[in-house]
Symmetry: C2
Subunit: 460 residues, 2 copies
Amino acid sequence: MAKLNTAPLSGMRDFLPQDVLRRNYVIQVIERVYQSYGFEPLETPAMERLSTLLGKYGEEGDKLIFRVLKRGEKLEQALRDHPTEDSISDAGLRYDLTVPLARIVAQYRNELPRVFKRYQIQPVYRADRPAKGRYREFYQCDVDIVGSRSQTVEAEVLAAGAQVLQELGFGPAHPFSIRLNHRGILRGLMEVAGVPPDLEDAALVAIDKLDKIGLDGVREELAQRGIAREAVAALLQTMANVPDTVEETLRWLEQILADSEAGRQGVAELSNVVAYAQHGPAADHLRVDPYLARGLSYYTGTIFEVEFAGFSSSGGGGGRYDNLIGMFSGQEIPACGFSLGLERIILLMEEQNMFPAHISGQPQVLVTQFDESTVGDSLALAQRLRAAGLRVDLYPDTDRYGKQFKYADDRHIRFALLLSPRELAEGVVAVKDLVTGDQVDVAEADLPAYLQEQLALVAA
Amino acid sequence: MAKLNTAPLSGMRDFLPQDVLRRNYVIQVIERVYQSYGFEPLETPAMERLSTLLGKYGEEGDKLIFRVLKRGEKLEQALRDHPTEDSISDAGLRYDLTVPLARIVAQYRNELPRVFKRYQIQPVYRADRPAKGRYREFYQCDVDIVGSRSQTVEAEVLAAGAQVLQELGFGPAHPFSIRLNHRGILRGLMEVAGVPPDLEDAALVAIDKLDKIGLDGVREELAQRGIAREAVAALLQTMANVPDTVEETLRWLEQILADSEAGRQGVAELSNVVAYAQHGPAADHLRVDPYLARGLSYYTGTIFEVEFAGFSSSGGGGGRYDNLIGMFSGQEIPACGFSLGLERIILLMEEQNMFPAHISGQPQVLVTQFDESTVGDSLALAQRLRAAGLRVDLYPDTDRYGKQFKYADDRHIRFALLLSPRELAEGVVAVKDLVTGDQVDVAEADLPAYLQEQLALVAA
C-alpha cells in the first residue's frame, strides 16, 4: 500500500483535541462578551462570488484569494476556449468577514434592524506565504455596528474588545493597549505639512512603517515617494513632538490642526470616542497615536489597533468605514467594527501560560472492563454516571488493567472505575486514583457524589 | 454605482442571527452529549490535497469535489502547457469528515491514545445539484471510535447518537428509529440466494433502492444487472419474509444464514451490538433491517441509519469501517462511526416546532438615549448591567423614543430602560415593558435584580 502524504497543506493546520478545547475556550469567552453587548451572531458561506471579493482588498489582496474551479460543461468550455484564471473560476474563498457583512447588509436590508449589531467568528482564507503566526486558514472574530454615525458606536466596540481581552486574562499582569487615531487627523497632518492631496496615500504608506523602519527610514521613504523636502521636514518635526498622555495629545492636535477642517473634525470625533470610552473597560488602555494609519483603505473615521506588551504584531484592530457597505447596497450606510485575531491571542496565551489549568470538555472518569461477563454492567454503569452529569469514557476491550490504566493516563483521565464480579457481588465500584495509586470501594448509590467531590478537589 | 449580485452562491446559505442561534443551540446539545460519552473534539482544514480526496468517494463523488486553483507561477505554467482539471488544481474542499479522520490517524498515530474517540462538527462541501434540504455547504456532526473491534464501540456510538436526538426532543412525541444491519448479513444473503461474488455490489445497489422503487422495481433492476432469475426469486422471497421484532429477525437470520460463514459472523456481531445497546438510550429505537445497504463502499461490519417518522430521507447514519484508515496509514486499524445531519435535524425541528421558545443569546434589555447630556450616563448604566450578567444593547443615537422602541421591537427586546434628567435626578431608571406598555421607576441599586425577575417571568 503506497503511503500517502498525510500532512496538512502548507499554511493549514490540524487541531488535535487539546488544541480545539483551548480554541473553544477562547471563542466561548468572546461570544459571551459580545452577546452581553447586544451583538448577535452571523454566519456566511466559505465561498463567495469572485465579483464580491475582487477589488475590495487592493491589488495584493486580489492575488491572495483562493479561487475555486468551475465544474462540468462550464469548465470544459473555458478550458477549450481560452483558459485564464478568470475564465476557469467564478468563486473564491472568504478573505475576511467585513466584505461578507457588507454583502449581507445590501441583500437583507429590509429584514435587519435599523442598527445592525453582529458578531462573526469564522475562518478566512488567504494564499499568503506561511510564517510563524501567519496561516492560510485562520479565524477572525469580528464585531461591527452598522447604521449609526454616533461615536458611542466606537466606544461600545472598543469596550467589547477590551472586555474580551480582560476576561481572557490580559490586563495588569499581561498588559495591552489600544492605539487610537482618526483618518481626519491624518488628513489634517498632511494638509498642514503641505503634502498635496494626491500624494496623501503614498505618504501614509511610508508613515505606517514607522514602527518597523524608524524616523530615518520614514524620511527616506517619503522622499522616494515624491514628497517635497519641506513637507517631509514638517511632517517629521510634528511626529517627533507628540505629547505623552491622551488628553495632552488631543489638545496638541487641536492646536496644530486648527487650520484644517478635516483635522478639526477628526479631533472632535476622536475626543468623543475617548470621552465615551471612559465609561467602559477600554478606559485604562487607550493611547492616541496621530501616526497610526492601518493599511486598509476603506476606513473613513476613527481607527484603532490592539498592541500587546513585548509583541510586535497587532492583536487586532478596526475602525469606522462609512463607504464600504455602499459599494454593495448603492446607498451610504455608516459602519464601525473591530476584529480580534484568534490565532495571535492563543499564541500569546500559550507563551505566557494564561490558559486555566483545567479546561472543560475532556472525559473525567474511565469505566474499565473486566471480562465478557461484566460488559453489560460496565456499559450500564457508564450510562448511569453520564445521566448524573459526568463525562465518562468506557474502555472498549477486556484488556488487562495495566493497559486500560495506561490508556486513561494517555487521555489525562485521573479516575478509573473497576467493576469485576467481586465489586458486583458487594454492590460497590472500586475507584482508582491513577495519580496517587489509591483505590477505594464506593457504594454504587454514592458514586456520582463521590466522584464529583474528588474531581472538584483535584481541580482546586 | 453598479449594484452587485449580493445573493449567496447557489447551494450556499447566509445565516442571519436567529438562524445561527438555533444552529448553535443544536450544536451545543450535540457537543455536550458527545463529550459526556468521552469523545474529544477534532478540527481539520477546509482544504485538503486532491490526492487525499480523490478515489475515496466513488466516481460520482470525485466529480462533486470543489477544486481549488493553483496560484502564481505554478498556475501560469499549467495554463501554458496543457491545462486540464488535474494540472490546474492541486487541492479541494473537505468532502466529509471521515477521510480527514483517517488522514489524521495516519499522521498523528503516536500522539493519539490507543483508542481514539473524537467528534468533529464542521462544514463539508459538495458540488451537488442543490435541492430542498440539500446544500453545497453543510455541517456534519461525526463521532468515531478508532482502534477497537469490540461491539461495545457500536453500542456507545449508537447510544451517543440516540441521546443527542432525545435531548433535542425526539422520542415519543417525535419518533425516530435506528435501522441496523451488517455487511456480513448482506453477503450471506447473497451467498445463500446464489448471487455470484462479483455481482454482489451490483445487487446491493439495486436492493438499496427498495424504499424508493418497491419490490417490483428491485426485481427489475436486479435482472437488468445480470443476476440470474433463480437468484432474484430467492432474494425477493427472503426479503418478503422478514419478521417484525429485533429478536425474531436475528433468530430468523441465524437460521437462513446457517450455511454462510460471513452471514453467521454478521448475525453474531449484530446480536452483540443489540445486546450491548440495550443498556443505553438507543434501546427502544432499534430495528434490524437485513436489506439496509447504505451506499458507501467502505463499511465492513455493522451499518446503521436514522429514520424519522414521516420523513423520507435519512437523518444520519454510520457503521464500522475497518479498512479505510489503512488506506492512509498502511496498517489495518478498525474504526466505527456515526454522523448526524445537522441540516435535516434543524429542518425537522422547525417543521415540528421543536425549538424552545427562548433561545439564549439575544439582548435582553435596551438602554435608550435621551440627549447629548445623558450619553455618558446611558453608557455607564449599560456597563453596570453587563457586569451584573445581563445582555444589554445600547441605542446609539439620540432619536425620539418611538424610534428607539421600534428598534427594540425589531430586535425582540422587551424591556427598554429610560434615563432622562428626571430619572437621573431621582436616582431611578424607568423600565418600560414594550409588550404591555407599562412603565415603572426602579431604584438604580435594585435594577439588576428587578430585570432578572421580569425576564424570568416572561420566559416562563
